[in-house]
């Protein structure tokens, strides 16, 4: 049983990896299980979330087994 967190752009540097497998559960609990620096970076005001490929608001989000949650910092163009 696991869910996958994906970190884009500079968030991958903060996380030290482009992705991380975590135990499923409420997003708040998942974030609490990460380091403080990473949790703070992931919950910044300009970070967007994509749950299984669709943009979502993180409030109340619960990750199920096999889910993918991507953290998207502001884009910097082509």
């Amino acid at each position: 049983m696991s869910a996958r967190l994906v970190f884009l752009g500079r968030l991958a540097d903060v996380a030290g990896a482009g992705a991380l497998e975590v135990a499923p559960g409420a997003l708040a609990d998942v974030l609490a299980g990460l380091g403080d620096d990473l949790a703070r970076a992931l919950t910044g005001p300009r970070i967007r979330l994509a749950h299984n490929g669709a943009l979502v608001d993180g409030a109340g989000l619960v990750l199920a087994d096999g889910d993918e949650l991507a953290f998207l910092p502001p884009v910097s163009g082509g």
Binding site: L8, G9, R10, D13, A50, L55, S76, G77, G78
Partner: protein
Amino acid sequence: MDDVRLLSEPFAPAAEIAAFSYRYPAAGGIVSFIGKVRGGDDVEALELSHYAPLTLPGMADLATAARGRWAVEGVLILHRVGEMRPGDPIVLVAAASRHRRDAFAAADYIMDHLKAQSWFWKREKRAGQWAWVEPRAVDHADLARWD
């Protein structure tokens, strides 16, 4: 049909423009934009990352939006991901239309939205060090022209 692709290998913009132009014999005008990694700066390399579930669908939506606003016969959007060197093409946008103003506007619109709204993250290598590129205010000002 629109031709929208994410490319992980180098591509040849001029050959793509020739093929695109050939595809639309009824279009009197083809406007294209080629974006390249600038040479002569101190940038040694540039890397673009994307998020597969969003990036290509977002580009396809952009092509559709441009079609909805202007009378274009065809739209081409090619975008590199991965690591590039100075002189390498990053992006090619082209629009074919019967009347040239439609093609100019569509290509311009697509570029502004690609730059400011598409799901790409860019980092640059200078003096051996990679650094993420922050969003630029001018990109958002360009975008506001279309509201």
